[in-house]
């Protein structure tokens, strides 16, 4: 029987297009499901949900909350979702990611969490300057600010106090790792490190996100990197992941794991067809 893969999306990026083509080129059935048009019925039985939405679902929503809740619904109805709701829950929230990386034995920068601006100012003082203030939800480097000194920390934290985002009053302050002007993006699928690349900060910017104009360069995989990112992947539950590492003075550390990984940049310098590797993994999971 031909394997059918449901692709749940809310925006077709370059990646979803590449994955769609790889699924079709493989001769598999592809069902595209626009998350924005879904009406999920709690009373529906498992078989009905499987008929309507499929039994193997690749969840690729850009919206963390949207994807997380759809994955939770589908899993409750017996469908297999990749990445699972639990992996999405952990990776979509930096607070949880840090906790799971620590618990799983993955080197990661020391992080302090507070629940008020006043405590955040104290935490920044304790951690020392510079340190890094990050929103716990969100991506692409948005809202990530370097706290260069006490004065700038106070100003940035006060600005955060005035915002009314869902998680604005949860402060995540991370030790600043003195690193070259680059980090390492890796793509891990299952228990395999597929590819790695450097992401260089653009001029006038310390963040390395491709969304901020970061430049991509090929990275030759080392056993140190492989061990590091596989431990990190396992720590958050595994699947199709973008694990980001930094070269610190005491070795590599993992600072982020993305469960809805974008790989357009990585594809430019990789010898591997990442979309095909994703489909290989889906087929393997379908046969489990």
């Amino acid at each position: 029987m031909t394997i059918e893969i449901s692709l749940v999306y809310d925006r077709i990026r370059w990646e979803e297009k590449a994955i769609s083509k790889a699924i079709e080129n493989r001769g598999l059935l592809l069902r595209r499901i626009d998350a924005k048009e879904l009406v999920l019925d709690s009373s529906k039985g498992d078989q009905e949900v499987e008929r309507d939405l499929g039994s193997l679902v690749l969840q690729r929503c850009v919206s963390y909350f949207r994807g997380l809740h759809i994955a939770s619904f589908l899993e409750a109805k017996g469908s297999k979702v990749i990445n699972s709701s639990e992996v999405s829950r952990i990776c979509g929230n930096k607070f949880l990611t840090t906790l799971f990386l620590e618990k799983g034995g993955s080197p990661t920068p020391k992080t302090l969490f507070t629940f008020s601006g006043a405590a955040a100012k104290n935490a920044a003082d304790v951690l020392g300057y510079p340190s890094v203030l990050k929103p716990i939800v969100g991506s692409w480097g948005r809202g990530v600010a370097r706290l260069n000194d006490k004065e700038s920390a106070s100003a940035l934290i006060e600005m955060r106090e005035d915002t009314n985002g869902l998680y604005s009053q949860i402060y995540y302050i991370q030790k600043h790792i003195p690193r070259p002007p680059r980090d390492i993006r890796t793509i891990v699928i299952g228990d395999e490190l597929i590819c790695a690349n450097y992401r260089y900060s653009p001029e006038g910017e310390w963040r390395t996100n491709v969304a901020k104009g970061g430049r991509i360069e090929y990275y030759e995989i080392t056993s140190e990197l492989e061990n590091l990112v596989l431990i990190a992947s396992e720590a958050v539950g595994g699947g199709i992941l973008g694990v980001d590492a930094m070269e610190g003075p005491e070795g590599l550390v993992v600072h982020e794991v993305n469960s809805n990984v974008e790989f357009r940049g990585a594809s430019q310098v990789s010898n591997v067809d990442i979309a095909v590797k994703i489909v290989d993994y889906l087929v393997q999971e379908a046969k489990r």
Partner: protein
């Protein structure tokens, strides 16, 4: 396929291989639209969602 921007009347070229859910932007004003295929040869554009706090990878 060419479509008109509802904001500035600019011409938006929708590639033939575009998929529903893909984003195209008006080259004149930058407004983003989401492609909605209504048939094999017909395309509609609807305003794209604004980037949310929880968006990302």
């Amino acid at each position: 396929m060419d479509k008109k921007c509802s904001d500035c009347d600019g011409t938006i070229v929708v590639p033939d291989d575009s998929l529903s859910g893909e984003i195209v932007a008006c080259p004149d004003c930058g407004l983003e639209y989401e492609v909605a295929k209504t048939g094999s040869n017909s395309v509609e554009l609807k305003p794209a969602e604004a980037v949310g706090e929880d968006w990302g990878e």
